[in-house]
């Protein structure tokens, strides 16, 4: 093989492994904390990819006190029910320059899986995710293992509320 051909093949392999165009969206709960930009379509794709599991989607932000307050309850429930198939998709609504703060918070809370940060225009993001959502934070959806949306609420809830919804979707 001459050098030109080798270089060409190497470049093709590299570009394939790095991905061309839109970045791939990780499946939730891939091991290791990460935070990547995602449109509403990509969040919904992640929900779809997780079919077979109960999925809880939570939109939060570091600067949103109710979001921060309910976060530990969600993580406790994740620890409790992950063996029964619960997956969590956290989507940060922090601004573009706050990604590191969001990541630090996630780490502090013991999140060790892939998470997302909202990308794109607000209105398209809100309506694509759910037209019933007003845009207020926090917001939570619970999907059953067949991918059906079972519960949706805006605003902070206590652990018992989350647990009831998760158990309902698990049954």
């Amino acid at each position: 093989m001459n050098i030109k051909a080798f270089t060409l093949i190497t470049m093709i392999c590299l570009s394939l492994s790095l991905g061309c165009g839109k970045p791939a969206v990780d499946l939730p709960q891939e091991k290791g904390l990460s935070i990547q930009q995602a449109t509403a379509e990509q969040v919904l794709a992640a929900v779809k990819n997780a079919q077979g599991h109960v999925v809880l989607v939570n939109i939060w932000a570091t600067w949103c006190p109710p979001c921060v307050e309910e976060f530990p309850d969600i993580m406790k429930l994740y620890q409790k029910y992950q063996d029964r198939g619960l997956k969590i998709i956290f989507v940060s609504a922090d601004f573009e320059n706050q990604t590191e703060s969001a990541k630090a918070f996630l780490k502090e809370q013991g999140v060790d899986f892939a998470t997302y940060q909202k990308s794109g225009k607000d209105m398209a993001f809100i309506n694509t995710l759910d037209e019933r959502w007003s845009g207020a934070l926090p917001a939570t959806w619970v999907y059953d293992a067949s991918g059906n949306q079972r519960h949706f609420w805006e605003g902070k809830k206590d652990g018992a509320h989350f647990e009831k919804a998760i158990l309902d979707a698990l049954e």
């Binding site: 949103c64 573009e96 809100i126 309506n127 845009g135 519960h151 949706f152 609420w153 805006e154």
Partner: protein, 211 residues
């Protein structure tokens, strides 16, 4: 026949039972519909100027702009200068303007009255910035987040509800100035181009209903 009826009743009972135990739940905000009249227009709310204001009291000859806002929310901070400028400008053009803070300051200390006074001064609000002391006004409007705006025409009917514009982070990168477009159309007597919009915002920290 009797057997069929019994089976039917059993099936119905089962279906209803499933519905109760596995019903989907939705708890989303339910704001005023377009064309609805402004509620709670006579509720007196204390302004940062020390005077009491009502929505009716500020109504303009062209219409009335009700802005649900606060001090603490980062989205408000991003949009605050634009809200101040729009409020001040359109108040001069015949639109009454009132900014309402419905947050419970015991939950968000930055939303206390003194802090509101300081903020209004710093941002040069030329319109009333008032305290919704029981959060009843936000509840009646179905407002869920800050900032969230409701624009009423001269007859008091809702003609626009939603966001300030389509870019909280960067005023220079706004593609559609929703609220300004609605205000200009209202003043010109034209149809509102986009009557309902949405943006992310901080959930309003309502006071408890027995407060």
């Amino acid at each position: 026949m009797k057997k069929k009826l019994t089976l039917g009743i059993l099936a119905l009972t089962f279906a209803v039972g499933i519905g109760f135990t596995m019903g989907n739940t939705v708890e989303a905000g339910s704001a005023l519909d377009l064309n609805a009249k402004a509620p709670k227009t006579e509720v007196k709310m204390k302004g940062v100027d020390g005077a009491w204001h009502t929505i009716n009291g500020v109504a303009g000859e062209k219409g009335t702009l009700v802005l649900f806002s606060c001090n603490a929310c980062p989205f408000v901070k991003k949009w605050e200068s634009r809200m101040s400028s729009i409020g001040n400008d359109y108040q001069q053009k015949g639109v009454g303007v009132i900014m309402i803070n419905s947050n419970d300051p015991s939950k968000v200390t930055e939303d206390g009255y003194d802090e509101m006074v300081a903020r209004a001064k710093a941002k040069a609000f030329a319109f009333p910035y008032v305290v919704d002391a029981t959060s009843e006004v936000a509840r009646a409007f179905g407002a869920t987040r800050t900032p969230e705006v409701f624009l009423f025409d001269a007859k008091g009917k809702l003609v626009y509800h939603g966001a300030i514009d389509d870019n909280a982070s960067n005023a220079n990168a706004v593609e559609v100035p929703y609220l300004k477009n609605a205000l200009n159309a209202l003043i010109a007597g034209e149809a509102i181009p986009t009557a309902q919009t949405k943006a992310l915002g901080c959930g309003i920290k309502l006071r408890s209903e027995d407060s």
